[in-house]
């Protein structure tokens, strides 16, 4: 049993270690900005994976949670004097509060999760493409409200003055935390029930799984991770606007997830690393004059299509990294099944 536990924890541990090696190597080579942006995307894609990977329902709306987390964390960390100047009409509690960076993050996560719970009560009843369109509607609603509610967000313009605190280390710690949360959720009874509904909703319900609560749980957990991603993002750029949480961002995050392989956690992370590496390489070619302006995007799009034709289930093909399996020695095979230890099934060569 202990060995199996270790085996189960191997995939996330290996993913985190590999991500760490890639990140700190690239950062050491002077790619700090790219690495930070990549790690922020890891947080977002892993957050999305918690819901999409386990439930099998594609969500177009998760960037809305990122936006809420980013705005709330930003408002709470902009120094109070600057805040009075930038957002003079801010409601009383928010205008004077100065909880500090860590508490601001926790508040942003908690409020976003609560919002996701309320919205999810309605959205999680839907399935398939209806759910997809409903989450898309959620994104439109949230960005519309954020860009129009000027007392809270400064309106359609840019909210500036956010302290720049995200660096490679904070981004990596957050990404590792997101991976751990995703792994714990996947191994939890709720996660297992949810994947049962993904594989066959009717059969899972016949076995007594109530699909709405398990979906809702995944929705809330993934919204919380998205909020942390928003917090990182806002404190990386130092300024945000409602437009940064657009459909373009949604596209990028979903593409990274699917290219990596949406059924495995390691695949989600792999997708981010692969797409980031390719984008970087193309942008170098573009600035070197090999590709015309905008050519990098075109090549990236073509690469995504080719990868999907080559591996329709993503680069990871939905599998997690595993310890090399111990094969039965040829002698044992010759000896026949009876001599094998109990529970050790013979596999086809």
């Amino acid at each position: 049993m202990a060995a199996r536990r270790f085996g189960a924890a191997f995939a996330p541990a290996a993913t985190i270690v590999a991500l760490g090696i890639v990140s700190f190597l690239a950062a050491g080579l002077g790619q700090k900005d790219t690495v930070t942006a990549m790690l922020i995307n890891v947080v977002l894609v892993v957050g999305l994976w918690i819901f999409v990977g386990n439930s099998g329902i594609l969500s177009f709306g998760h960037i809305a949670f990122m936006a809420i987390g980013a705005y709330l964390a930003s408002i709470l960390t902009i120094p109070v004097t600057t805040r009075d100047f930038l957002l003079p009409e801010l409601p009383g509690i928010l205008s004077g509060a100065d909880p500090g960076a860590a508490a601001a993050l926790l508040i942003a996560i908690a409020v976003t999760a609560a919002f996701a719970f309320l919205v999810g009560l309605a959205l999680m009843r839907m399935s398939g493409i209806g759910a997809g369109i409903a989450t898309l509607s959620l994104l439109v609603i949230v960005t519309n409200v954020l860009s129009s509610w000027s007392a809270l967000t400064g309106g359609g313009g840019t909210l500036t003055g956010i302290p720049v605190t995200t660096d490679v280390t904070t981004a990596f710690i957050t990404a590792a935390g997101a991976i751990v949360v995703a792994f714990l959720f996947r191994s939890s009874p709720t996660g297992r029930r949810l994947r049962a509904t993904r594989e066959d909703l009717v059969a899972a319900r016949a076995l007594g799984v109530r699909h709405v609560p398990v979906r809702l749980a995944a929705f809330v957990v993934s919204a919380a991770v998205m909020a942390a991603g928003g917090w990182l993002y806002a404190h990386y750029l130092g300024s945000i606007s409602a437009e940064s949480f657009s459909f373009q961002t949604t596209f990028l995050v979903i593409a990274m997830l699917v290219v990596g392989g949406s059924y495995s956690l390691a695949g989600a992370v792999l997708g981010v690393v692969a797409v980031t590496a390719l984008t970087e390489a193309m942008q170098h070619l573009e600035s070197a004059g090999v590709l015309g302006a905008g050519g990098s995007t075109g090549v990236l799009a073509a690469a995504v299509i080719l990868v999907l034709i080559w591996r329709p289930r993503g680069l990871s093909q939905g599998r997690e990294p595993r310890l090399p399996a111990r094969r039965p020695r040829p002698k044992a095979l010759e000896a026949g099944v009876a001599d094998l230890p109990a529970g050790h099934e013979q596999t086809a060569p």
């Binding site: 369109i133 439109v140 459909f247 699917v258 799009a301 289930r313």
Partner: protein, 291 residues
């Protein structure tokens, strides 16, 4: 008042045309084709093709060109992925949009361009004391004509019947001898005709052209398809009409303070429709999952 009615009817007709193109491909392939937005963009760009030909030539060129582009898209990107996961197909269509938009901004520049293809339609006509723009009337007439022609095609031509059969149950249709490649190509070609028409009407209304002009129409078309009833072509047209009417009626009815929140309200109504009727306005209960 009459002006509002015409605005609503024209927008509803335009949205219905957009939605039908999306619903056709969704019907046979279960693919939400985001690249439909790129088709609209291609149609708009073709209206700016060089040469001083009279405007009907440009309109035909645009519709025909989009039709070809849709066929090429199916052959190159979607056929190798036949039978893949819905999310894989979806991301492929995302990638097509991004790639084609990048191509358009390389070839045509990323700034908005003004196009005036139908100058004779820019005026308006007086009717019962309010002025109705000619373009609104033209949109309604075009949309209705296209839908009548299309519905005749679906009803009476053998290929149309195969498309309908495939929309209802693709596997069953194949078992009965419908050729998958043929019917999917037909759906894409027809979807191209709708995208081309929508592009011409859209450019004639707004007079501008940008590489990302297709994004809003395609999102509207998706929403219309889903609230109308997935897989039902008449439902998609109805969904488009409902969205168009909502977009005109809400701003007219809302107080000034709430105007900026118009989109939020429209999409809240969309979520409510989906909650009350998950199968869409037209779909029936049977369209759910069968065991």
């Amino acid at each position: 008042m009459i002006q509002h009615v015409f605005d609503a009817a024209s927008l509803g007709a335009l949205y219905a045309v957009m939605a039908l193109g999306v619903a056709l491909v969704f019907g046979v392939m279960r693919l939400m084709n985001f690249a439909y937005g790129a088709l609209i963009m291609i149609g708009g760009s073709l209206l700016r093709a060089p040469g001083g030909a009279p405007w009907p030539v440009y309109v035909l060129l645009s519709i025909f060109g989009v039709c070809l582009a849709a066929l090429a898209m199916e052959r190159i990107a979607f056929r190798p992925l036949r039978g893949a996961d819905a999310s894989t197909l979806l991301v492929t269509s995302f990638a097509l949009v991004i790639g084609l938009e990048a191509l358009a901004s390389i070839l045509l520049g990323s700034r908005a361009k003004s196009v005036n293809i139908l100058p004779s339609l820019s005026g308006s006509v007086g009717l019962l004391g309010s002025s109705i723009a000619w373009i609104d009337i033209a949109t309604i007439v075009c949309a209705v004509a296209l839908m009548v022609a299309f519905s005749a095609f679906l009803r009476f031509s053998p290929l149309g019947m195969q498309v309908r059969a495939a929309s209802e149950d693709f596997r069953m249709a194949r078992l009965l001898g419908v050729r998958a490649n043929r019917v999917i190509a037909a759906a894409f070609a027809a979807s191209g005709v709708f995208a081309g028409t929508a592009a011409v009407l859209l450019v004639a209304q707004t007079g501008t052209l940008t590489p990302s002009m297709g994004l809003t129409p395609v999102l509207i078309a998706f929403v219309a398809t889903v609230i109308g009833g997935m897989g039902s072509l008449y439902g998609a047209a109805l969904g488009g009409a409902v969205l168009g009417i909502l977009s005109v009626a809400l701003p007219a009815a809302l107080p000034v303070g709430a105007q900026p929140y118009r989109n939020a309200m429209i999409f809240t109504i969309v979520i409510l429709i989906l909650l009350v009727r998950p199968q869409g306005l037209v779909g029936n209960a049977i369209s759910g999952e069968r065991i």
